[in-house]
């Protein structure tokens, strides 16, 4: 029987609220539907409530208000062992006194499986752990332990698999490899994965849908491409990748339907922004543009962009990374903006520091955010 065929349900959080006895509100009336079989990521900085949300779904933390459903089944107050939910813990939480095979067989045995050996074998093969079956967790490497934690959870074929920063303890190279591995396994077993992480790249690589959380609320939710190209708040614009945010006055709307644009005045330069990427009603806003969308040319040379060019910028720093070069530019009004340029070889070298440059971008890449929002929201505090 294929796993994906089994009747399951969407994970539905309704008005979910968590207030700790000390008054701290970790999760604020969260409404969320995670479709069955999807790979869903909860992304946010530490303390944003993503792990608390996960623990409420797992039953390790009790909701103050609201409900949790899987399909039609209300599991809000069910004991953890009564839920069709399994968790891959951040530190794996493997049972140190049991072998790998015993760890993996723990769930099926508790549920009364007479002889889980065959299933255990299959799962160990799927996670490439067959050789390690008789070892103890302490004898395994970090990546192997991570796979044991995963195997121990998915063998139970839960309706929902929760992953709490499962790759956090691995080094960068292993983490990238495991991301691909996790995605492959998710597609193979067809379970709903809810992945909690603070690593935006990890969330975007793996998940079909990413929900960006901040201060107990979901700031924005969508496919990685939509979130990245059309962020709705300064927090999302800064936390998910990087953004240049430039103060602008809104002049007015033009056109209708898909061609509708909003005209803005950025320190004297007029630019247009697609209406679908405008997220403010006020007459002020932040024009957002991703650094890799910013095009630069030494003053006077033609730029391959149909939009208006900002002139008078000066290169104050150029970091050669190999695949690209990061330029820091000082704009005439004093703000510094960032530009990532692919090293395609066309330029034949770097633009030296101190060079005056013109700056532009294709208008469809820009977005407009509400001016009342903190321009530094979501930036790493270090």
């Amino acid at each position: 029987m294929s796993l994906a065929d089994q009747a399951r349900g969407d994970l539905k959080l309704t008005g979910l609220h968590k207030r700790y006895p000390n008054g701290f509100v970790a999760v604020e009336s969260l409404d969320l539907v995670i479709p069955q079989g999807s790979f869903f990521a909860l992304l946010g900085p530490s303390g944003c409530g993503k792990t608390t949300t996960l623990r409420m779904v797992a039953g390790l933390e009790e909701a103050t208000k609201g409900t949790i459903h899987i399909g039609d089944q209300d599991i809000t107050y069910a004991r953890p062992y009564k839920r069709p939910v399994n968790t891959v813990f951040q530190n794996y939480a493997l049972f140190p006194h049991l072998t790998i095979a015993e760890n993996v067989a723990f769930g099926p045995t508790r549920r009364g499986a007479k002889d889980p050996a065959k299933e255990v074998k299959e799962i160990l093969a799927l996670t490439e752990l067959t050789e390690q079956a008789a070892k103890k967790p302490a004898q395994l490497s970090g990546g192997q332990q991570q796979r044991v934690a995963l195997a121990r959870a998915i063998i139970n074929r839960p309706d929902v698999l929760l992953l709490d920063e499962p790759l956090g303890a691995l080094d960068l190279k292993l983490r990238r490899a495991m991301q691909i591995e996790l995605k492959r396994i998710q597609e193979e077993v067809g379970l709903t994965f809810v992945h909690v992480t603070h690593d935006q790249e990890e969330a975007m690589t793996m998940a079909d849908t990413v929900a960006v959380m901040n201060k107990g609320r979901i700031e924005q939710m969508g496919a990685p491409y939509d979130l990245y190209t059309n962020p709705q708040t300064t927090f999302v614009a800064n936390f998910l990748g990087r953004s240049n945010l430039i103060k602008a006055k809104v002049l007015g709307r033009e056109g209708t339907g898909a061609d509708a644009v909003v005209k803005v005045d950025m320190h004297g330069t007029i630019a247009t922004i697609k209406a679908s990427k405008v997220h403010t009603d006020s007459d002020q806003g932040w024009v957002g543009i991703r650094p890799e969308k910013v095009l630069i040319q030494p003053e006077g040379q033609a730029i391959d962009a149909p939009g208006a060019a900002l002139s008078g910028a000066v290169v104050v720093d150029a970091s050669y990374i190999g695949v690209s070069t990061d330029y820091t530019l000082r704009m005439p009004w004093g703000q510094e903006i960032t530009c990532f340029e692919q090293n395609t070889g066309r330029r034949g070298g770097l633009i030296p520091v101190g060079t005056k440059v013109d700056v532009s971008w294709r208008p469809e890449f820009a977005f407009l955010l509400d001016s009342s929002q903190d321009v530094e929201a979501g930036l790493e505090e270090d």
């Binding site: 390790l60 399994n86 968790t87 006194h97 769930g107 508790r110 549920r111 008789a134 121990r152 139970n156």
Partner: protein
Amino acid sequence: MITRLGRWIGKHLMLTLGILVLVYMYIPNMIVALMSFNDSSQSRNLYQFQSFTWDNWLNPCEPQGMCESLRVSISIGLLATLVATAIGTLAAFALVRHRFEGRSTANLMIFLPMATPEIVMGSSLLALFVAAGFGGQLGFWTILIAHIMFCISFVVVTVRSRLAGLDSNLEKAAMDLYANEWQTFWRITFPLVFPGILSAALLAFSLSFDDFIITNLNSGTTVTFPMFVWGAAQRGVPMQVNVIGTLMFILALAIVIGGEVAARRRAKGKAAAL
């Protein structure tokens, strides 16, 4: 020759010092073992080796009252260990796992008896027993009550440290994997804390078996093994005491070696099963 020895010692200084310390620690046990084969019947000087004999080993219970005192000590030791380990383990779980009003005070009060001089504890217990009207019944049961009391603190401290080092996520993981509270305790918590409980029990037994001061004050006419030895030492220790001493040492050694061998065999068995 001397310089070569000097060089060798220089090269192996750590090893040499380590061996010297071990020799220093084990000399008393060696002497005891040697004396257990001493034929003391010919001499007044008990602490000098006269001639070799098996007699002490063949008739260990010859000195009057010695084996009876040993039996009393072992019974009290086993009972005190059992009760103190049970109470102490439960107390350790409460202190580590539950947040309650007065937890830190309770922690301190558990620790306090260990810091109290035995002579103070022993005499206040005696005062208590007499005041409670048990002055005439001092003996096996009063000793047992006293031993359980001072063993509990040591058990709590030993089990508590083991329990505190236990990742509470393991229990959450077990619950997440369909184990109810009962199964979680017996499958995960208990096996992981068991080494701590076992060492607490061994510690409790040796503390109880060993105790002299508190026991002496609360024993009435009952004589434990340490009290027998103390009493006998006034006249001259019978060589059979050395037999018991050697046996106890061998027993302890056997427990340690047995544990080590079992652990190694387990590790090897797992490796062989691959």
